[in-house]
Symmetry: C2
Subunit: 138 residues, 2 copies
DNA sequence: TCATAAGAAGACAAAAAGGTCTTTTTAATT
DNA sequence: AATTAAAAAGACCTTTTTGTCTTCTTATGA
């Protein structure tokens, strides 16, 4: 469904939030190990998340990643859009340049309602809502 | 949603079936031009479809691609599975190694029903059903 | 039967995705 | 102040995906 970067981003951010709820600020080595992702690749992705303002970090000894509770909950749709774009939310399943109701591909009227459900899902769920949900890790 | 190969495969096959219904057997140059895909790449994909037995071809002057009406309708799910695998049908949206109800990721109970709808769609729709549906091309 | 038109096969190449590593900057602790 | 622990930055590399091209094989029809 999503590409690796998006998956690692979502898993990292949820892990950070889970640890934050416990009063901890995990560092990159811990995060990568826990979510089973390549360390330096995960670091690069999280740096982008920080630059976007999606999550905060602190350098130096005792540093790590954390969510600033002043920020609103972070929608997973916003993460997805920032990392891999919005093709999953708006693109045509048949690969036409764009999805157009008035010139629909033969999959359109069956696919559009499914895509709508995806849109609802990623608009409603947040890193915070996922972090509060007990979950498996492999 | 799908990768380029899958998109080109679906668009090619639907175009071939549409033309077959008109009594024609289109060639690779025509197909690629009509579905707006790179010619040689499309040729390579269609060769795989032929080897899989999904569609037939005839070499030489007057040759082209066609569906043998003896074969059952071709499910788009079978095409997708052959071209890009079954990740979209069975994979975990959070990127866990596999989706497991008993050890679900935090997206599972919201994502699984959507994935189920995708499975139904690709099991019900066929190249033939799509070819009978009037459709846009860009 | 020979010229020609078509698909088959496979080598090659470019671009994008995925991943690794080293150096720099920052901050806390001793 | 020096040491140490951490993220930031960015160069570099590998693999996969996407795309191109040339040569070979097959069939038609003049
Ligand atoms: S036109 Fe293809 S999904 Fe809407
Ligand atoms: S475990 Fe992630 S979708 Fe089922």
């Amino acid at each position: 469904m999503f590409n690796k970067e998006t998956e690692y981003a979502m898993r990292s951010l949820v892990y950070i939030q889970v640890e934050n709820y416990k009063g901890r600020r995990p560092g990159i080595s811990e995060i990568a190990a826990e979510i089973d992702a390549p360390r330096f690749f995960t670091a690069k992705i999280l740096q982008r998340m920080v630059r976007q303002g999606f999550v905060q970090s602190r350098k130096g000894r005792g540093g790590g990643f954390y969510f600033d509770s002043k920020h609103a909950p972070l929608k997973i749709g916003d993460v997805i859009k920032a990392v891999e774009g919005d093709n999953i939310m708006t693109g045509c399943a048949f690969g036409l340049k764009y999805c157009d109701e008035t010139n629909p591909c033969p999959l359109h009227f069956r696919y559009a309602p499914i895509r709508e459900k995806i849109n609802t899902l990623v608009a409603e769920e947040t890193i915070q809502s996922l972090a509060r949900r007990p979950a498996g890790t492999d």
